[in-house]
């Protein structure tokens, strides 16, 4: 019975595509040279890299000189934010981002605050969206960067990147977006999106871990974070991870090629899953925007039960998901994203993220829908709480206030 394995944690990472792996293997043993070497073996690697850069640029509708390969999404984000901050230091000091960003953005911003920069954290609404007027009003004369993620990793909410980009370019502020979660499903045309910088990584698109990319629009000047041999157009030194880069670009191409059909397929599965789980199980809340959301993201809160316990039971049934519960996090704090949306604490604790992927089938979804009600019921039977959904909702205002105070304290 437990033979079935349903991996629904594709937002954490994906299983590598076999074609991608095949591509990657070549660059370990056949084309293994250092692209910086003068001889033919090195030249082969260099040509491969040039080719990959061209193809990556094509996917993004960018120039090859605008593509910088990095070691991860997190590194790209650090490069974009810190690199730009160091470049404008002494002239400008203000950054705008949102409270629902990935830790890579939030921690980098907090670090820069310690170094004397100012950061405005835009609130997100109940669905996870920022308010564009608020953004406009937040931009100051000394604002040099806006960083807003394309699609949220936890709740899947998709921001209006085009509009944000337009606002930024009108006000002459650089705009960076973290597109790691979006890359398999949304349009990555940087001209359409009006972005100056865009972060991608390999592990979310059935590619390798440990590879990322930063699109850096021509004319955007950043300081490098890693100094050395001057690779990547002097922006990121260190011998290029040729196998990783080749595989990443291949994976990105495949994902973007299939994205429309794949999105359509997953939206249907996603909606079915949300609908049927909510039908079968009482007191379930959907986190994130109902429609402006990633095709593969199902994030639900089950009241009166705690997320880690749900995960353990799911695991025993061969279902692998993740939770925003405090008990599952290293710091024992509930998901900052769910709290940022002004959702009551109670919801965060019982929140489960199922992130579907290209291997997810209709049978997988049916299987989850079948086993989930019993798990929740069992845990509810041993729960001392029986929250009233309506009450919880009305408590929300008080809780928001609490969070506000909590944040003010910080």
């Amino acid at each position: 019975m437990t033979e079935r394995k349903v991996y629904m944690d594709n937002s954490a990472t994906t299983r590598m595509d076999s074609m991608v792996k095949e591509e990657m293997d070549k660059y370990f043993t056949e084309i293994y040279g250092n692209p910086g070497s003068f001889h033919s073996i090195g030249l082969d690697a260099k040509q491969a890299m040039d080719n990959a850069r061209e193809r990556a640029a094509k996917v993004l509708n960018a120039k090859t000189s605008e593509i910088i390969f990095t070691g991860s999404g997190t590194e790209s984000i650090n490069m974009a934010i810190k690199g730009l901050a160091y470049a404008v230091q002494g002239k400008k000091k203000h950054i705008i981002t949102s409270t629902a960003e990935h830790h890579a953005v939030l921690e980098t911003c907090e670090y820069l605050e310690k170094k004397g920069f100012d950061v405005t954290y835009l609130k997100v609404d109940r669905d996870g969206l920022i308010d564009l007027d608020e953004l406009k009003n937040a931009i100051r004369d000394d604002t040099f960067l806006v960083s807003i993620m394309y699609a949220n990793n936890e709740v899947g909410t998709v921001q209006d990147i085009k509009e944000i980009g337009k606002i930024c370019s009108e006000k002459n502020v650089k705009f960076h977006t973290d597109a790691c979660q979006a890359s398999g499903y949304l349009d990555l045309d940087v001209k359409e999106l009006n972005v100056d910088m865009l972060t991608l990584n390999g592990s979310k698109v059935y590619g390798p871990k440990g590879v990322g990319l930063l699109y850096l629009k021509m004319g955007t000047v950043i300081e490098p974070l890693i100094h050395g041999g001057g690779q990547e157009n002097n922006k990121r030194s260190g011998t290029e991870n040729v196998p990783g880069i080749m595989a990443f670009v291949k994976a990105l191409e495949i994902a973007q090629e299939n994205r429309v059909a794949e999105s359509e397929r997953l939206v249907a599965l996603r909606n079915k899953m949300i609908r049927e789980v909510m039908e079968k199980i009482p007191k379930v809340v959907l986190n994130g925007h109902p429609t402006k959301r990633l095709p593969n993201n199902v994030n639900l809160s089950f009241l009166d039960v705690e997320g880690e316990a749900i995960l353990l039971y799911l695991d025993s049934k061969g279902i692998y998901a993740s939770s925003g519960s405090a008990c599952t996090s290293k710091t024992l704090d509930p998901s900052h994203v769910i709290l940022a949306m002004g959702v009551p604490y109670e919801f965060a604790h019982g929140s489960i993220r199922f992130s579907l992927g290209k291997e997810t089938t209709a049978e997988d979804v049916d299987y989850v829908i079948k086993v989930l009600p019993e798990i929740i019921q069992n845990l509810r039977n041993i729960s001392p709480f029986n929250l009233d959904l309506e009450n919880v909702e009305s408590e929300q205002k008080k809780i928001r206030e609490k969070i506000r105070i909590h944040e003010a304290k910080k």
Binding site: E306, A309, Y313, S322, I382, P384, F385
Partner: protein
Amino acid sequence: MNELKVIQSEKDKFALAGDGVSHDGKSWFYTDVVKDHFFNPRNIFKTTQEADEYAKEADGIGLVGSPACGDGMKMFIKIDKDTEKLEEVKWQTFGCGTAIASTSAYSVMLAEGNGMTVDEALKVKPKDIADYLGGIPARKFHCSVLADKAFREAVNDYYKKTGQNEKVKTDGKKIIDNVLKITDHDIEHAVLEGAMDFEAVQKKTKVGVHDKECIPMVKNLIKEYKEKYFGED
């Protein structure tokens, strides 16, 4: 110095036993005993209605925590009035795998066989529960404390119901940090969640950030709680 070593090794032992499931899906390493109690919890109710019925006849009930602050635990006890032995210990919890497993184990330790007397049971420390389970992650230690606290509440409830008011033990909160209104309970909680020195506790609670005067007192409390929960006795 010596004392520190003990705590360190105790921590390591818990840490070795695994760190639970992390936010981004890391695997879990609970011991087999933990898993057994988690997947087959003992002394629970089949339905919430059954729990409601049972509440009417229980000799003592204790509830600690709330869903808003994270964890919650309710304990129901039945006691033989003549011998003061525990006849039954039943429970409900809103908590993680460790909370469920440690409460299940605790209920077995207390009421198994002949059952402990209330006095004996009050001597069982959260550390004993952890040992019984073969170790739990340091970060999860506070979950076993929850069971202990709920039990103490239930005993208090029993004392009140049987007119033994002099035996009731309340531990009222004391405000330590006068600016942020941080109490000794908050500090205890932080220690239980794995903050083992002042810096770590401050990071968690912000204690002493504004109210510098309370820092020596906080340091003392941390020492006290470390001894209480992690030290050998």
